[in-house]
């Protein structure tokens, strides 16, 4: 299972995405220690510092000195704004289905009931499959 050694093997892009998500959810500047804690704590401190300085170098984060460490925050929600603008434009395309490969498509109410039942049955039969890792930072 990936939970055991996943953190070490997780691609840098995913770690950056997760760190950015933590900072965007936080609403205030966070130190590498705070970010590490909210990411689930299975990462080395130096790894988190590397991720954050890389994001800072890309211009996605701002930082300010707090004591001995830097505190990082997303750049004025601009990444979100740009991405949202892109989605709006993409969805205005006449051939929308061509350009977006969505992870999950729309569901009917019947689909939703079916899905909930499948999920409940599966978890009842295989309680071992319950997630062992901590939930996401926004939970």
């Amino acid at each position: 299972m990936p939970q055991e050694n996943g953190a070490a093997r997780r691609a840098a892009g995913e770690l950056e995405a997760a760190a950015l998500a933590v900072l965007q959810a936080a609403g205030s500047a966070l130190t590498p220690g705070d970010v590490r804690e909210r990411l689930g704590g299975d990462l080395a401190y130096t790894t988190v510092v590397t991720i954050l300085s890389r994001l800072y170098a890309k211009g996605v984060l701002t930082r300010s000195r707090t004591g001995r460490a830097y505190a990082y925050a997303p750049v004025a929600d601009e990444p979100g704004l740009a991405a949202r603008r892109m989605r709006g434009l993409l969805e205005a395309e006449p051939d929308r289905e061509a350009v977006l490969a969505r992870f999950v498509s729309g569901m009917s109410p019947a689909d939703e009931r079916l899905l909930r039942r499948m999920l409940a049955e599966h978890l009842a039969e295989h309680p071992a499959d319950q997630p062992a890792d901590p939930p996401g930072p926004n939970d």
Partner: protein, 314 residues
């Protein structure tokens, strides 16, 4: 005119009926190639069949024969298509060509615009996180494609589930899946009988990415749970859309009478063992498509030979 020119139409109807069962049974990667290839070959063969009908009707007209330097008596000894049928075939072919060109133009501009905009997204990484409470995730086409995930979606998933989601979207991006949908949609634009095939191609691409994500995570139940949780999160906090897009999505959501929609079917497939290769089924489908293509080519060669014979006799 030989009956064989109608074969692509018959096989198109057959393929439309068989597409969904095939998409469920054959491993998704094979199914995506098979269905996309079939759609392209059948669209081309249907067009060629219509063209042959129109041409074979045209050669019985004295002006055409005079123009081509053909002997009318030789041409009429064969069994040319009746003129009304030839005209109908010609009109259908023109309509199909116009629809395909229009669809190709729309798709090319949409892909180019998406690529331009994806390049303007912030950062240089493949993954872009959007600060948005709505739960959404998608891959935008490009070279390389970029993956957009909202913080709302990331928040609904555990770390292991996020890896599944990103592996799924990476499979779309690295597999150039938008090329499959483009080819299948163009084929369906030219021959509307093939629309169920194009829909099935879309489903097999999702399944392909699901299987890839399950292999990366080395856990099918984990992948199944991720798809289910993401779908429920997206329903609880749906992405804002223009009204027209929301209406389109509502129309696309299947009614309960027509069976389960794509998301529950994907979850169910992940909860089952990986699909078996189904070699016999795949070979049978390929043979049928090849026979269809070859017989139309054969009919074209026959007509060509007849015209040459008539020219020699003139």
């Amino acid at each position: 005119m030989r009956l064989v020119v109608y074969l692509p139409l018959v096989v198109s109807v057959l393929a439309a009926v068989a597409a969904r069962p095939l998409a469920e049974r054959v491993p998704p990667r094979t199914a995506a190639w098979l269905l996309t290839g079939s759609a392209v070959v059948l669209a081309a063969a249907t067009g060629a069949g219509l063209g042959l009908l129109a041409l074979s009707a045209a050669v019985r007209l004295p002006p055409v024969d005079a123009l081509g330097g053909m002997s009318l008596s030789v041409v009429r000894r064969d069994d040319p298509a009746p003129l009304p049928l030839g005209i109908a075939a010609g009109l259908l072919l023109a309509a199909a060509a116009a629809a395909a060109i229009r669809a190709a133009w729309l798709r090319t501009t949409a892909l180019a615009a998406a690529h331009r905009r994806a390049r303007c997204l912030p950062g240089t990484g493949q993954v872009v996180v959007l600060a948005d409470q709505a739960a959404d995730a998608y891959a935008a086409p490009g070279w390389p494609g970029r993956i957009v995930v909202t913080s709302g979606m990331l928040g609904a998933l555990t770390n292991a589930e996020r890896e599944v989601l990103l592996a799924h979207e990476r499979a779309h991006a690295s597999g150039r899946h938008y090329l499959f949908t483009t080819a299948a949609r163009l084929a369906a634009a030219a021959n509307p009988l093939l629309r169920p095939l194009a829909d099935a191609v879309g489903y097999t691409l999702e399944r392909w990415a699901d299987e890839h994500a399950a292999a990366v995570a080395r856990s099918r139940p984990l992948a199944a749970r991720t798809v289910a949780k993401a779908a429920l999160a997206a329903r609880a906090a749906p992405p804002r859309r223009p009204a027209s897009a929301a209406m389109m999505a509502a129309a696309a959501a299947p009614a309960s009478a027509r069976g389960a929609g794509p998301v529950p079917r994907r979850v169910a497939a992940l909860l089952r063992p990986a699909p078996r290769p189904r070699l016999l089924l795949v070979v049978a489908a390929v043979v049928l498509i090849v026979i269809c293509g070859v017989s139309v080519l054969d009919a074209a060669r026959d007509l060509h030979a007849l015209i040459e014979f008539a020219q020699a006799a003139a």
